[in-house]
């Protein structure tokens, strides 16, 4: 038990370090000085209030997307459709933000709820297909991404209306923007969404570990047969898990629509938020605190990477580092073997393992 926990934390940390090491090697190979590179990267994350603000701003949608993937995963499902759910959530948030005239106390919550419901509805389709017809959710949720991409574009063009490839801005009463936070961070785009994201991580934890629903969902995730035997509605739980996952995903879209951009742009391709969510969930070990930390790291690397350009290092390098971190986390088993190899002599007699079966 304790050992598992130890590895659960050690593997992501080691993966991050190894990813950085690979990044340094790539920088060397490209003729850049890695020390300068990382110096610039960290300055780009922590150096100024503005960059800290931008990092937090970029983390909010990633936290939601990561929670969406992690929630489904905790119940034994792969929601690869977060990207599509982000798009529909984003669109509905912006639409409500533009279309209604209401006081903030109603307008903002309404726009958020709309985004969550839109994501939920979109996610429920793969859920229902899985529950009723045993269609694999990975395939359907991926396909739903494409449908979402083109459907939202079409609705933006023909229903909501666009000018210069984008919608008008949401009304102030639906905006997450916070002049206070902006001023605090040297006018970054940081908005109130980060608080909602952290709250969502709490809700995630509460649902799974404190409610009867969470007890059921996790049981279904671990062992469907036993859950069925115990009288839990397995199919109902599959749909419900997708729906809740979709709420998180839809809210990730609201972060962009009501926070960062205040509008929605026609998308030629995916935003990537949903796919990054898979990486965030993986690095965060599907744990709410882990997801928040992983989202902060990814956001930091992305924002900090931008400033590496100033000394001529292409920001794509950050993508390579992120990719390697993911590869190392995914090969956690191999890393584990490495750790064991190095520590086996010292700790063998201390190791606590299951007894004879």
């Amino acid at each position: 038990m304790k050992l598992e926990r130890f590895y659960g934390i050690l593997i992501p940390i080691l993966s991050i370090i190894l990813g950085m090491v690979v990044g340094a090697i790539v920088m060397l190979a490209g003729g850049y000085n890695p020390i300068d590179g990382f110096d610039q990267l960290f300055y780009g994350i922590f150096g100024e209030p503005y960059s800290i603000g931008e990092t937090l701003r970029a983390a909010a949608p990633l936290i939601f997307a990561g929670l969406a993937v992690a929630f489904a995963f905790r119940t034994g499902l792969f929601n690869i459709g977060v990207e599509g759910q982000v798009l529909v959530g984003w669109m509905v948030a912006v639409w409500i933000g533009i279309e209604f005239d209401l006081p903030t106390a109603i307008h903002l919550p309404l726009a958020l709820i709309g985004a969550g419901l839109a994501g939920a509805l979109w996610a429920s389709i793969p859920g229902i297909l899985k529950a009723r017809f045993h269609v694999h959710e990975v395939i359907t949720s991926i396909m739903m991404n494409y449908i979402a991409l083109y459907v939202t574009n079409d609705i933006l063009r023909h229903v909501i209306g666009i000018e210069n490839e984008r919608t008008e801005s949401v009304k102030e009463t639906a905006s997450l923007a916070s002049p206070f936070l902006q001023e605090l961070t040297d006018f970054s785009r940081l908005h109130n969404g980060i608080f909602i994201a952290v709250l969502a991580a709490l809700v995630f934890w509460f649902i799974l570990w404190k409610t009867t629903l969470g007890y059921e969902l996790r049981a279904v995730g671990f062992n469907k047969s036993a859950a069925e035997y115990a009288g839990m509605g397995v199919n109902k739980n599959i749909v419900l898990s997708f729906v809740i996952s979709g709420v998180f995903a839809g809210l990730a879209g609201a972060m962009e629509g009501l926070g960062t951009f205040q509008n929605m742009t026609l998308n030629a391709s995916f935003t990537g938020v949903g796919f990054d969510g898979i990486a965030v969930a993986l690095l965060g070990a599907n744990n709410p605190i882990g997801v928040v930390l992983a989202a902060l790291l990814f956001a930091g690397l992305n924002i900090g990477g931008l400033s590496m350009q100033q000394i001529g290092i292409p920001p794509e390098l950050i993508k390579i580092i992120i990719a390697f971190i993911i590869i190392f986390v995914a090969s956690g088993y191999a890393i584990r073997l490495l750790i064991e190899k190095f520590t086996v002599k010292k700790t063998e007699d201390k190791k606590v393992k299951g007894a004879d079966k």
Partner: protein, 509 residues
């Protein structure tokens, strides 16, 4: 005397837990040496040490007189030690030959020499009388055959010392007989065998000597000869006298609890597995179902418990129809179920024992209120049940996965019995358990009967059926073909009826 394997004063610790404490096992050439112990006594640990999976903290291992250091299963293989695992390690959609050569493929250039492999498999199979078809796919052959493939795998790799890990746990009585013949044949061909088991009958039948360990400690090694008895072995294993043929008190059947009429249930392929079945159980009696596996037992239980739809017929519980109710409704109307496959249905292995104790009741008070779990109450309940049913677990927080089979089963029984169901269904409740645990579980079933509950016992062990039941229903091709009094029948008659033999039609008693 020549020893092929000597494990001398082996000690293996896991943290503060001593799994093997100064254990010695000496295997003579050409003998079948039984390794006996309760679930969790340290048998598998000892064998894993021999097979190179664990390194011992103290002691030495000698193979054919030479001191060796077995650091990995590869080293064990090279020393001619082969393990026939309890849980088969086979690729389901590969053929027998492909499975056997996997990892040791004979090659021509870069291609696998299939003809040569096939021929070698056929030849070994013939030499040891295994009668395995080299071209059959694993998924198409019986469990018994799959086990022979595992045996072939070790022989193909040149093993002459074979470790059998609880080989009969998954076999039917007929397959067990055949396995015993195979083991004798292996010995005749010059192999030596270590047989890990807790089945005393098999040891008496096949073993030459027996080493017993109890709670990680070496108890002794004895010859299995005419003077040895099952009770002496049992006593060595559990450390106290075990009552084998416990005579349980007489049943006192009361009102009708379960009444099944003309039940028809189709299996997943659409074939009628239960085909016009009639069965009744009264409060205060245990009805045992005797039948060969695959005669509708699984489908019958699933239909009663709501896991499978019944096509026609009636199922009444206390005069109310429970046919095709959802599993939760069936549970709530008073049915407890100890499932056949405790890992698949009985437990969520990645949940703690505490969590598992409320698998059907978590949504009720006091375990939850308005959708919010009260894990404090759950753990309190778990503690009570763990104590009452002597479930050996470090704590209620321990994962179910970490418990031994016997303790997992005790946990399930605790949970099911504690709900005080009017009908308790026990499907193969003692499969894979040692005598101590079996005795405990039988006592629990009888206790339930004495509390006035109806108990339905399904087992493939005729001894168990004969010993515990108050009435026996023989199941053949989805129908109850006879109802018998266990005092007036025996294994031979039961076996005959189970195979479709006709006595005079015995009606519903």
């Amino acid at each position: 005397m020549e020893y092929v394997i000597e494990m001398l004063n082996i000690r293996k610790e896991f943290g503060t837990f001593v799994a093997n404490d100064n254990i010695t096992l000496q295997l003579r050439k050409g003998e079948i040496h039984a390794l006996l112990g309760e679930n969790g006594a340290g048998k598998s640990t000892l064998m894993n040490v021999l097979f190179g999976l664990y390194q011992p903290e103290a002691g030495e291992i000698r193979v054919r007189g030479e001191k060796v250091n077995i650091t990995s299963p590869n080293v064990a293989n090279d020393l001619g030690i082969g393990m026939v695992h309890q849980h088969f390690m086979l690729v389901q959609n590969f053929t027998v030959t492909e499975n056997i050569i996997l990892g040791a493929e004979p090659k021509v250039g870069i291609k696998i020499d299939r003809a040569k492999a096939r021929e070698k498999v056929r030849q070994i199979s013939e030499q040891y009388g295994l009668a395995v078809d080299p071209d059959a796919k694993i998924e198409d052959i019986s469990v018994g055959m799959q086990q022979r493939v595992e045996i072939l795998k070790t022989l193909y790799r040149g093993a002459d010392i074979l470790i059998f890990d609880e080989p009969s746990a998954v076999l039917t009585p007929q397959e067990i007989k055949e396995l015993i013949q195979i083991m004798n044949r292996l010995i005749a061909e010059g192999k030596s065998i270590i047989l890990i088991t807790h089945k005393l009958k098999e040891i008496m039948e096949v073993a030459d000597r027996c080493t017993t360990i109890r709670r990680g400690k070496y108890i002794g090694t004895v010859d299995i000869d005419e003077t040895m008895t099952q009770s002496r072995l049992a006593e060595m294993m559990v450390g106290r006298e075990v009552n084998f043929n416990a005579e349980y008190s007489k049943a006192n059947p009361q009102e009708l609890v379960l009444d099944i009429k003309n039940l028809v249930v189709k299996d997943s392929r659409g074939i009628k597995s239960v085909d016009g079945l009639n069965l009744d159980i009264r409060a205060g009696e245990i009805v045992g179902i005797a039948g060969i596996d695959g005669n509708g037992q699984t489908e019958l239980i699933e239909a009663i418990t709501g896991l499978r739809k019944a096509d026609s017929g009636e199922i009444f519980l206390n005069n109310k129809s429970i046919k095709n109710l959802k599993p939760r409704k069936v549970t709530e109307s008073g049915v407890g179920h100890i499932p056949q496959d405790r890992h698949k249905h009985g437990l969520v292995l990645d949940y703690s024992i505490g969590h598992n104790m409320v698998l059907q009741t978590y949504y009720k008070q006091p375990y939850s209120k308005a959708g919010i779990m009260n894990y404090g109450q759950v753990m309190e309940k778990a503690k009570t049940l763990i104590e009452k049913f002597d479930v050996r677990t470090p704590s209620p927080e321990t994962f179910a996965r970490a418990l031994s089979g016997g303790n997992q089963q005790k946990a399930i029984i605790a949970r099911e019995v504690d709900r005080s169901p009017d009908l308790l269904i026990a499907a193969q409740p003692t499969r894979g358990l040692d005598v101590g645990a079996i005795e405990f579980i039988h006592e629990q079933l009888v206790l339930e009967r004495e509390k006035g509950r109806a108990v339905l016992l399904i087992s493939f062990e005729l001894e168990e059926i004969l010993q515990v039941s108050d009435r026996i229903a023989v199941l053949y091709e989805g129908r109850t073909v006879a109802f018998l009094d266990p005092k007036e029948t025996n294994e031979i008659e039961l076996g005959f009826l189970m195979a479709g033999g006709k006595k005079e039609e015995v009606g519903r008693s």
